[in-house]
Symmetry: C2
């Protein structure tokens, strides 16, 4: 085992359980005698190049456990997506601080950073173990049955649709909710598990794995509305036309871009507004409401899956075990081994890095606007214990007197 | 005691606990021997004039209990605000069905309907007890310490801001969240209880009880952003300028109206968008995100205050007891009798009907953009048990090596 310091960092969008992974890694690392100190980098790779380190060796176990239960990255995060030069700077700092174990909790971009840093370290002949710990509410990491953070975000989406459906049933109209997910529709698809009775919403689910056609959308809304007097739609923020152009770009007047030059999809209610306006204008339906779940879905406190918590903790712990007892870099992955149980593996960084997983065809119905039972079976155990449930009155109608 | 049928109905925007009141009234009414049957009206007063009644005498206690725990109006609701003619039609139907006890669960409009119906019944010499059962997430009924539905919605708002603050701390920027409340700022003010550490958001809270000035808003955002590198804003959908014109009307291009001719405030992300655009354009801050809590805040399942559940149940039960053992119409109100305990009273319908309560001055800070400790004390017990809490790492900084 290498002798030296351990560094833990968190990257990308926060999740409700990302601190479980951080605490899992920190507590496990503190057990090893070859580890001199356990550092955390503030705001991910940005904190590394700025030498913004904190010493987590001197934090109580008790407070670490409380932080583990707190959503969002306690060390701070970053949207920086390092290039080769940036990664060389990272390595320089790791060397200067005698860091021999580097754990980065994040999504595709973070795994790609780890791949480059590990390559550079090998070439520079600096022995260091680089382990990527998976995290993303989008559930879009390859080789993983699912990723920590997704189950809790999915649970929030399910509970939101359960409530939204009850609300819409009480005051009928068209209701559109926009869910996060640029390329992968898993989180939007989760809305299907908010459906209990056959006439419950969501009645249509639009994911980025399928082409969105405005005319088909409008005729679907018309059909459902005429049937039930109401209609609930779940739409991924990343839905796009046949050329791959996001719907938000195609119909909106003004488009914003994020730090990576991608079209800004979250943080505004523009898509829900647009989809609602089309229903009002083209179908003449009056009561149309749109919500954008926004940042609530990834950091909501008090709506966490216990399965997600446990697994997020374990991937952090396993990462340290792989780093100490194994002798390779890699990305920790989740494999489903039973219904329901999981085990973890260490995959080569280049097998995971920078790749995007989307929903397999078997999870999407032929109509393209619903999920299959295979998806329902896949998701159900991830949501965890004590899922709220919705009940209806089963009443007999009273005969009219006045008529 | 009058001999005949009981009718229960639900009106206005749903809440997470409105079914507790309905079930409280139904179960209590089913105990009385002078009650022949217990009816529910589908979609409030609209269901009454259409004779859309269901028989709740033949529903199991068990299922009623499950429905009580389910958010949103199980009988359906309505936005109809009956005038005199409409109320006479209501009375005609009540007479035709031999209804002698009428319980309407709702807000100001519903209490006003009850006032008119009760007046008309007296004039028509039709003995009937009309009891209004309070409900509204806006917390804007006079003579009530608070109203059922508000505590659970407030809890959702608190938990949302707890999470949003953690998210914003991890990826800093300006974050704006728009909360429901046309005239009363209670629900938006609840966001203050999501604040734990001194630098936590929300940093500014804008309620309809104070005039919103765009220039002051922008300079406040500038000040906080320069200090903390981030800024979180809670804004009521009803914020308005010095003439009372909603900000959404004043700066938006297109304005929609609801069924009552009021400017449509909910169901779109327009205000959050507007407040965010101003920050980007006038202050040149790049990362600006806006969320509108929308319908989630009033019907979210699994984030309910146990205090709210209990009280909502009791106002329903008390309503029946007042109707049976007393001999007057009225509106059930909640009075705070200890810290924390409540008792219920029956107030004359005309004392509550159609009146709007707003936040008292003692709940709003001198700055006009924060709450006072009096408000924090007021709200805290209403949120109920097992409120989630947020924890931070207490780490010591590591000295730089490269510098």
């Amino acid at each position: 085992m290498l002798q030296g310091k351990v560094l833990v960092a968190q990257g990308g969008g926060p999740t409700a359980v990302i601190n479980q992974s951080m605490v899992g890694a920190v507590l496990e690392a503190r057990k090893f005698r070859n580890v001199s100190l356990v550092y955390g980098a503030l705001h991910g790779v940005q904190g590394i190049v700025n030498e913004d380190f904190v010493d987590l060796t001197q934090e109580t176990t008790h407070n670490l456990e409380m932080v583990a239960e707190t959503p969002s990255s306690a060390l701070g995060s970053t949207r920086d997506k390092p290039d080769l030069k940036y990664c060389r700077q990272i390595l320089k700092v790791l060397q200067a601080h005698d860091i021999r174990y580097f754990f980065y909790i994040g999504g595709n971009d973070s795994s790609d950073t780890m791949r480059i840093v590990a390559d550079e370290a090998r070439q520079a002949n600096h022995p260091i173990r680089c382990i990527h710990i998976p995290k993303t509410i989008d559930n879009d990491l390859v080789l993983n049955d699912h990723t920590p953070g997704f189950p809790s975000a999915a649970r929030f989406v399910v509970q939101s649709f359960l409530g939204a459906n009850l609300d819409n049933r009480s005051l009928p109209g068209v209701y559109i909710a926009v869910v996060m997910g640029r390329h992968a529709g898993f989180l939007t698809a989760a809305s299907a598990l908010g459906k209990k009775f056959p006439d419950d919403g969501p009645h249509m689910i639009y994911v980025p794995e399928r082409t969105f056609r405005m005319d088909e959308y409008l005729s679907d809304v018309r059909r459902i509305y005429d049937r039930y007097g109401r209609c609930i739609i779940a739409a991924s923020e990343g839905i796009h036309d046949e050329t791959g152009t996001p719907i938000i770009t195609r119909f909106a007047k003004k488009v914003e871009h994020d730090a990576h030059g991608n079209v800004q999809l979250s943080g505004s209610g523009a898509l829900a507004q647009l989809l609602g306006d089309q229903v009002k204008e083209k179908l003449g339906i009056n009561r149309v409401r749109g919500d954008t779940f926004g940042y609530l879905q990834r950091s909501f406190i008090g709506c966490v899956s216990d399965v997600d918590q446990r697994e997020a903790r374990e991937v952090g712990e396993k990462a340290v075990q792989y780093a100490m007892w194994g002798d390779t870099d890699g990305s920790v992955t989740i494999e489903r081994t039973g219904y329901y149980s999981v085990d973890y593996k260490l995959m080569p960084l280049e097998a995971v890095a920078g790749k995007t997983r989307t929903m397999p065809d078997e999870f999407i119905s032929d109509s393209g606007t619903d999920v299959t039972d295979a998806f329902r079976l896949y998701l159900r155990p991830l949501l965890g214990k004590a899922m709220p449930d919705a009940f209806r009155l089963r009443h007999s109608k009273v005969a009219k007197v006045l008529g």
